[in-house]
Symmetry: C2
Subunit: 201 residues, 2 copies
């Protein structure tokens, strides 16, 4: 069995990453979602090992020191991060594992796992992003402005990703990402064993 | 408009490259086939600029000297080669242009056009290749043996290609190749202008 591929998906707030990832995960035989670890308290309805791996700060720090975290960040006094073990487990099971991740986190994972495939999701244009942020209706003018500024800064990093897809029509965006995964699985490095197998017989 | 992609397709005799290429070319808006130049005489039914570009040996040699051929070979006293101009023209029109090409030719094109995407088509196994060669019914035992030996030598070069696809079910093989082209068109280098466009507005 071939190993799975580690897929890093980033994009600005409002671009619709969450929906894109959710749709791709429908194909549960092929895809799995990375589960983060956190030191914050479990909220009602959350399940350990599903929503997050809930661990203590002491445990989290110890894992960082042992190099067991692919990336992590501190946010409002708590740690959030990606345990390497779960990603490795899924990859070895042949699943393509998706990490929905910030720009900084993606850079860190790429350093440890250069074979990870990074994909940046772009909006078709700034107007589309703005109207998506506004249509949420939950944010005031200043917050929308701030998010758009942050988005512009993040999108300047898009060209550092292996691939860039555009979320204009959702179905096209999903097809584009699936094509990337299919292409990656056919790269020479991932097909060496197959070729050997044919030639040896 | 984005430029097209140059696609080099190789594979052993009997693997079904021709059928695969023909099927991909049905999508004529996106794909075009490279037209070779040759110094051999035009046969009945052949059209200049469609079947081949028919040119004299003098002209062919002059084009080689001027670096106007992406690759060429001499076969039975005649030259066959790929004129760079036609490939460039199609790429600039936004067409993905396919070169069905021998291993040596693919290496030469890659040297001149490192951005070309090379794909090797493998049979699922040697038995499949053997039975396809036999089912043609046109070749005697010795020829089949020779072709299988040549195939094995060619397939050892498969890992030098960017991608390796398997022609087991034809539809899957075509999908795999189309996915590769889609993925290539979403590589960061091919999306730089798009990102710039979004950020400039």
């Amino acid at each position: 069995m071939n190993k799975g591929i580690v897929i890093l998906i980033s994009g600005p707030s409002g671009v619709g990453k969450g929906t894109v990832v959710k749709e791709i995960l429908r194909d549960g035989d092929k895809y799995a979602l990375s589960i983060s670890a956190t030191t914050r308290n479990k909220r009602e309805g959350e399940v350990d090992g599903v929503s997050y791996f809930f661990i203590s700060k002491e445990e989290f720090r110890s894992r960082i020191e042992q190099g067991l975290m692919l990336e992590y960040a501190e946010y409002c006094g708590n740690f959030y991060g990606t345990p390497k073990a779960y990603v490795d487990e899924m990859v070895n099971k042949g699943k393509n594992i998706i990490l929905e991740i910030e720009v900084q986190g993606a850079e860190n994972v790429k350093r440890i796992m250069p074979e990870a495939v990074s994909i940046f999701v772009m909006p078709p244009d700034m107007n589309a992003l703005e109207s998506r942020l506004r249509s949420r209706g939950t944010e005031d003018e200043e917050t929308v402005r701030k998010r758009l500024d942050t988005a512009a800064v993040e999108m300047e990093k898009a060209v550092c990703y292996d691939y860039i897809v555009v979320n204009d029509r959702l179905e096209d965006c999903i097809d584009d990402i699936k094509s990337i995964i299919s292409a990656e699985s056919h790269k020479n490095i991932n097909m060496v064993n197959f070729v050997k197998g044919v030639l040896e017989k």
